[in-house]
């Protein structure tokens, strides 16, 4: 860019084209803002550098929440999915989640298509060396030669593992956030003011293997589930954009683990080379070998990375051992005896922002207008990143438009759970969503995502196909909900016989349809579908499912809510953390923790790890 050319000023600049960056840029574009998405030259948008899958328990809900808000992830996942699964299918509707395996190249291709075609989004393939904030509060972006590239009113940083990233593979250490990519260390001007955690976080990935050299006959195949539903609400639920493929299950054996155990001193994770904290829910094979010495076999899922590539992802054997040892132990796995490596596994350590310095729109409390989203915030997972991208993108946009900020409640979305968890507690390991983190799991389901998210979407004041879908859905939902509450079965002999025939149980007095849906051992969706067919009424399939499941859980949710309400009321009560942290009635340890976290209300106090009951009882007696 020439000096004499006017430097373009954008409403919003998003640095990083990963899942967080995509959502942030996309929703801002949808809201009519002028967005610049800055991404490295050689990294495709929306890449999936680790496992080639979107969704999962809890995560599937997040993808649908993003989708209901008009986000991208659900669409991209549907369009590039090569295998579908419904997890926890036998464990009740509340904990069922969708997961798809995606074609990595296809996913990025679709991401590029959506972003490039958006009229309000400009993609800039430049490396930013420095960002600062001028006196007018505008962010200025400079390249290597200190030349100003662009200016923006707000900035969202979604640089993933690239911030201070170091790759490890055996003794080899190199700067970088991902294999074959440079790291972007030099945002230091800006980051000097941003508080990062003292410890680095660590993540890892397994080697990539050549499909042609695998003996699949020794493994258990897993088929795609044709009944699993697409993420995007406007896609037909069981339509498939791409041909479906199988995944395979194999396992490590004692030999695999003994090779690893014999080479402990060569493992950067165990010889002191890596000091970063890795996620315990996603351990490397080294972790598995050393931390669980009793176990002598572990599952390995063989997942294809795409339709046109021979690369497969062996899920479960993330490693950063030296290359020759990786090859040695991988070949002990049944079916992989003659396998050839395409890429070796590695670990990456990266800097993480101290998220307790962010507010619930993920904006820095120290630097106004600067937002953070994704792995840079110490989370793991594409879905978590995308969810934060949406939150940051939405709120940066609303701020530019002079509109009120939007905060997702933890009682009605996993995105809300995640954001609150993140900002209210210092994390000592990468954060991932689990359904266990929600107090309201029976309500935060996949099936009722429109009910949960449409009030938020409405606040955006957009008129798109998604909004029309929400309106139609809700119209039908309310109608069917009423019908279930009002339609009565009278205990006539013919009705009794019908109940018996259908297996609905006894009919001794007038019973409304809703009550039948609640009866134990009945599948509420099947019952409601059958009854509607009987009545000759037609409703959207997803409305029927959601109404039926909501009825089924109604009593449980209500009961849990009574408790939650009580707790919520108490949680909202203000406390004086300074006073508490000086009180003689509180143990030293608790006082230290209170000083560190500075809880504003009882709820935050309660969530501090290691707070003792006596402290809570005392604080409850001393509410402001």
């Amino acid at each position: 860019m020439e000096n004499n050319m006017e430097i373009k000023c954008y409403d919003l600049a998003v640095v990083g084209g990963g899942h967080a960056g995509l959502e942030a840029a996309w929703i801002a574009g949808e809201l009519g803002l002028n967005v610049c998405l800055i991404s490295s030259k050689n990294v495709p948008l929306g890449s999936t550098p680790c496992n080639p899958a979107i969704g999962g328990v809890g995560k599937g809900q997040v993808v649908r929440e993003i989708d209901a808000m008009g986000g991208l992830m659900g669409r991209l996942a549907d369009l590039s999915a090569i295998q579908y699964r419904t997890l926890n299918e036998s464990k009740g509707y509340a904990v069922q989640s969708t997961r798809v395996q995606v074609d990595k190249d296809e996913y990025s291709k679709n991401a590029e298509k959506f972003i490039n075609n958006h009229i309000n989004i400009t993609v800039l393939r430049r490396k930013v060396e420095r960002i600062d904030k001028n006196e007018e509060g505008l962010f200025r972006f400079f390249d290597k030669s200190q030349e100003q590239i662009i200016i923006s009113k707000k900035l969202i940083l979604t640089t993933g593992t690239f911030l201070g990233g170091t790759l490890h593979r055996g003794k080899n250490k190199e700067k970088g956030g991902r294999v074959d990519c440079e790291s972007s260390r030099d945002l230091t001007e800006l980051f000097s003011k941003v508080k990062t955690l003292d410890v680095k976080f660590k993540t890892g990935t397994p080697p990539r293997l050549d499909r042609k050299t695998i003996d699949f006959s020794k493994m258990t195949p897993q088929e795609s589930d044709p009944k699993a539903k697409n993420f995007h609400c406007l896609h037909k639920p069981s339509e498939r954009a791409l041909p479906q493929v199988k995944c395979y299950l194999t396992r490590t054996c004692e030999e695999t683990l003994s090779i690893i155990r014999e080479n402990k001193e060569l493992s950067p994770l165990f010889n002191g080379q890596i000091t970063g904290v890795g996620p315990r829910y996603c351990p490397s094979i080294e972790d598995k070998a050393f931390k669980y010495p009793d176990r002598n076999t572990h599952h390995v899922f063989i997942e294809p990375e795409g339709l046109r590539t021979d690369s497969v992802y062996p899920n479960g054997v993330s490693t950063c051992l030296p290359e020759e040892i990786q090859e040695e132990f991988i070949k002990t796995i049944s079916g992989l005896e003659n396998v050839e490596f395409l890429v070796h596994g590695y670990a990456v350590e990266y800097d993480v922002v101290d998220v307790t310095t962010l507010d619930n729109s993920l904006q820095s409390m120290d630097i106004e207008g600067l937002y953070f989203a994704g792995q840079i915030n110490g989370t793991s997972g594409y879905e978590e990143a995308a969810g934060q991208g949406l939150v940051a993108g939405l709120n940066a946009s609303l701020a530019i438009l002079g509109r009120e900020a939007l905060a997702f409640e933890r009682t009605d979305s996993y995105i809300g759970v995640m954001v609150e968890d993140l900002i209210s507690n210092k994390r000592d390991e990468p954060y991932r969503l689990f359904t266990a983190r929600s107090e309201n799991r029976l309500y935060i389901r996949e099936d009722n995502v429109i009910n949960r998210m449409s009030p938020y979407r409405k606040l955006l004041n957009l008129k798109s196909e998604v909004d029309r879908y929400h309106k139609d859905y809700l119209y039908e939902y309310i109608l069917l909900d009423k019908l279930c509450d009002q339609f009565q079965y009278r205990p006539s002999s013919s009705q009794k016989e019908y109940f018996l025939k259908k297996g609905y149980g006894s009919l001794l007095e007038n019973v409304i349809l809703s009550e039948v849906l609640k009866r134990a051992d009945l599948d509420p969706i099947k019952v409601l579908e059958d009854e509607l067919l009987n009545f000759g009424l037609v409703f959207k399939k997803e409305v029927i499912a959601s109404v039926a499941i909501s009825k089924k859980y109604e009593g449980y949710i209500k009961r849990a809510n009574v408790e939650t309400e009580k707790v919520k009321r108490l949680n909202g009560r203000k406390i004086d953390w300074e006073k508490l942290s000086n009180s003689k009635n509180i143990s030293n340890e608790c006082r230290m923790r209170i000083k560190e976290v500075r809880p504003q209300n009882f709820g935050q106090l309660k969530n501090i790890e290691g707070i003792r009951p006596a402290t809570l009882a005392f604080s409850a007696g001393n509410l402001i």
């Binding site: 926890n88 829910y281 176990r295 983190r437 029976l442 809570l616 009882a617 007696g621």
Partner: protein, 488 residues
């Protein structure tokens, strides 16, 4: 609690209680702002009261002197409640105390303290933590060793240990259901299921154990009674007198004790028991006697130890009318034909009850000093109706009584070593959580929905959060990651 004690007016109470008659009673007033206001009630200048020194003064109602008292002033915040406090040591006549209290109450200077309000104020003013309050409460109200040690155990942490164990087991239980939901792909369905079941069992065991500890019949431990029941003329009164002679407690000479029945205190291994001689049981039309029998039955219900006294020459027994008898004493073992009579009772007797046989050297009325004759104890296994060797002297009789006192001692020790939980709040919480857990255990197998099961477990968690605090999800997740190899 907050609503109950919302009024911040000064409060007054007689801390030593109005019921008992003692030489000195202590009256406390807490929460007044200014010593000047006290000048109306005393004949010394209260503003010059030296903190924590005793001052002799008169309490006066206008010109009338009500009592001479010792007055001590504890200024805030270094008093029990953290507020300004005065303590009056007044003469302990209940009438006198009432008169003084009503003087302070009359001009609305203060109001009567609700039970526990002094302690509540202490808690509120950060003088005590809640668990300390509970411990202190037990210490102060301890009228028996058990409650006293409970108070200590709260402060020392025996109960805390138990609650900690409960906490850990609950974390495990919660972890195992979350494992089932979020990670069954990682650890395998069957593994997850088995893990859940074994953790549920362990949790149930601990909450049942705690629940047991709340179920101990406290009243029987706090002021334990030993009661003698049996038909009229069975020999209860003679036995009563005899036991008294050998075990009489020093505290038995309490003046002013009302006696609707005859009772005295005896001491066995350092514990004071009230020994009660009840009216005999027989069919009677006499109203007074019927009432007396009713009273005996009532006492019987609450008794710590029930001794059935039987004269085998008095016709058949109806053990059914006396529930939970601890011990049987047969009298008249000196009389001719005793062995044969005893044989006749064999069928009526409850299994496994310990018994002894007592008798006189010479027939006739049994009175103190006359009992010279006893059998050896008849073991707790079953009544042994073999030849009963008459004991020839007092010491052998005492030996047979020893088996009674030994029984009492052991029973007391057994009950009190269960460390009963006496704090009302804990008892309530434990009971609720126990019932919920039990009903969950009996019904979860029919639940096909794991999310619903998890929600039930969360409700149990909310119940016990009062004891163990809130179990936050990070703790649960940590437990999972520590014990299971997660990550496929």
């Amino acid at each position: 609690m907050n609503l109950l004690f919302s009024n911040s007016k000064p409060i007054i109470a007689c801390s030593s209680g109005l019921e008992s008659r003692s030489a000195i009673s202590l009256i406390r007033v807490s929460g007044f702002s200014d010593l000047v206001k006290l000048n109306d009630f005393f004949d010394i200048d209260c503003t010059s009261l030296k903190p924590r020194y005793s001052h002799l003064s008169h309490v006066k109602d206008g010109e009338e002197v009500l009592d001479q008292v010792i007055l001590t002033y504890f200024p805030a915040p270094n008093s029990y409640t953290g507020e300004n406090v005065i303590e009056l040591s007044a003469h302990g006549n209940p009438f006198n105390i009432k008169r003084i209290l009503s003087l302070f109450l009359r001009d609305e200077f203060c109001r009567e303290a609700a039970p526990g309000e002094f302690t509540y104020r202490a808690l509120k003013n950060k003088k005590l933590s809640l668990s300390q309050v509970e411990g202190l409460d037990s210490l102060l109200n301890a009228n028996s060793e058990v409650v006293f040690s409970q108070g200590l155990s709260l402060l020392r942490g025996e109960l805390h240990e138990q609650y900690l164990k409960l906490y850990n087991l609950f974390v495990k239980l919660k972890a195992s259901i979350e494992l089932f939901i979020d990670f069954s792909e990682d650890v395998g369905e069957e593994n997850a299921q088995n893990n859940f079941e074994s953790n549920l069992e362990l949790f149930l065991k601990q909450i049942s154990f705690l629940n047991e500890r709340t179920k101990v019949n406290l009243s029987s431990l706090l002021s334990p009674t030993i009661i003698l029941v049996g038909k009229t003329n069975a020999g209860k009164s003679s036995l009563f007198n005899f036991i008294l002679n050998s075990q009489r407690s020093i505290i038995s000479d309490r003046p002013g004790t009302t006696r609707d029945y005859i009772s005295e205190f005896i001491e066995i291994s350092g514990v004071n028991y009230k020994l009660i001689d009840t009216a005999g049981f027989r069919d009677s039309q006499d109203q007074i006697e019927v009432q007396g029998m009713g009273l005996a039955l009532n006492l019987l219900d609450k008794a710590f130890c029930k001794i059935l006294v039987v004269n085998p020459f008095l016709g058949p027994l109806s053990t059914q009318s006396f529930k939970d008898i601890d011990f049987i004493i047969f009298t008249h073992s000196d009389c001719d034909g005793f062995k044969e009579r005893l044989e006749a009772f064999r069928a009526d007797l409850l299994d496994d009850l310990p018994c002894i046989c007592l008798g006189l050297e010479k027939g006739g009325s049994i009175g103190p000093g006359f009992i010279l004759f006893g059998s050896g104890s008849i073991g707790p296994e079953k009544i042994n109706i073999g030849p009963i060797e008459p004991a020839k002297n007092i010491s052998s009789l005492s030996i047979s009584l020893n088996s009674l006192t030994e029984y009492v001692r052991q029973k007391y020790q057994a009950l009190s070593s269960k460390n009963p939980i006496v704090v009302e709040r804990h008892t309530r919480v434990i009971e609720k959580a126990y019932l919920r857990t039990e009903s969950f255990v009996s019904s979860y197998k029919s639940m096909s929905d794991v999310a619903v099961m998890a929600s039930e477990i969360n409700l149990i968690g909310e119940d016990i959060s009062e004891l163990i605090g809130v179990v936050n999800p990070d703790t649960v997740l940590k437990d999972i990651f520590m014990n299971f190899c997660i990550g496929k």
